[in-house]
Symmetry: C2
Subunit: 286 residues, 2 copies
Amino acid sequence: MPDTSALPVARTIAELREIVSGWKRQGFTVGFVPTMGALHEGHLTLVREAGQRADRVVASVFVNPTQFAAHEDLGSYPRQEAQDAELLAGAGCALMYAPAVGEMYPANATTTISVGAPAEGLEGVFRPQMFGGVALVVAKLLNQVQPHVAVFGEKDFQQLIVVRRLVRDLDIPVEIVGSPTVRDGHGLALSSRNAYLSAEQLEVARRLNGVLAEAGAKASAGERIDEVEAAAREALLTAGYAHVDYVAIRKADDLGEFGSGVVDGPARVIAAAWLGKTRLIDNMAI
Amino acid sequence: MPDTSALPVARTIAELREIVSGWKRQGFTVGFVPTMGALHEGHLTLVREAGQRADRVVASVFVNPTQFAAHEDLGSYPRQEAQDAELLAGAGCALMYAPAVGEMYPANATTTISVGAPAEGLEGVFRPQMFGGVALVVAKLLNQVQPHVAVFGEKDFQQLIVVRRLVRDLDIPVEIVGSPTVRDGHGLALSSRNAYLSAEQLEVARRLNGVLAEAGAKASAGERIDEVEAAAREALLTAGYAHVDYVAIRKADDLGEFGSGVVDGPARVIAAAWLGKTRLIDNMAI
């Protein structure tokens, strides 16, 4: 049982930078994993991945209000900081950074960031506020922590693409690493929002992974993308999903569409669908 | 006569970072002065100021296309890199960073930054594209150079306010220093665009400074801001200016308006006016 009292917690940018600059003076490299807390094995895999690539790992726990729309689950998003600290310590994290909202966003903050095209389709259609909020908080967190490497999960694949573009376009001096999605024994991608699911919904949720795998196999075999997408959407509704925001087969590097209508290069199948009031996303390489 | 061949020039981000990280490994602090070239004594004052605050000074020379509108003077903006290198070396600069447009903006760059309120009035009204372009290139340059301190001229006072807000809001780890405007013997603020002026226009140009000083004195004495602004606008037109974009008396910290209609705190008088096809700006503390 890790000693949670041993995990330092920084609440301010100044405290964070004092600790990180101390490590750098000692010659240590620094890895970073941004999270919104409610940690599960998926997050801990990112922390361990960062630990493979850097001497010291910082994980932030910050439920970022700017990436939630007014009708979304900001208020009910699960918060469990003491448990998160325990889990982080056990995964080898050296510092939890948990700033208050006012530390992250001073009252007269006015700057916004748009990443443009990579943020506009898919999630950008259904959660138009999200990637602006993600870009801003990720730029801020990277500049606050100043890590050598930052690890993001492929679970949020479009977010990973957006972050890579942000970092490239703003020349933020950090290496961005994408880490494969962690799944339960039935293939369900781990997510903090899975906690919202009833036992019955959980059974349906576990079908998403298989439907995407089948779609990927068909597209890979040369079937037309629009037909594969339509079939996958039907399969999800049949499986018990209440609503499908999208099932899309896109280019793996920037999630752009295949102009040819068939997969003729590295591809990703990506989806978002609803079970009751819970929205699940998943994706996989084709 | 400084040996210009002794001034190293970095053309790529990789070259720049190799040199700067070498300095940092040796324990040197780094100062940075961004310029669009066509250097004059105003720029060199910024370089010397940076040299007072850091062990090594980088100056960038980059005519940033994203801050010019289509009808503006991007094509004719003065370019004189060899002379700029010589001047920088003489002012104690250790490295000129002169990237090509394609190095700064890859073909598929999509990210944009808006600084919001501080960028919206004054220059933001008359040159609506400018501060978005400034914010993007300054964020990129700061992340490319990673200086400890960066020096900006008060000549572009709203730009200084915008840069301070950008750096604060994105938590870019750098100290921003504003350096007082350098003027010729007649009070005219030095500007690369002064090179466009005829001898006759130069005489008119030199009146701007005096008109602003008088407006500042009146406002400081308690006259109503709107009346002082109107009188200063008339004075500029009478002096021979063809058109006045604005003369404004604003709060010194964020260029916001005084709600009371009179100066009741630290203030700045700021103006933009035209002589033929040349647009001049100036400002001063009240």
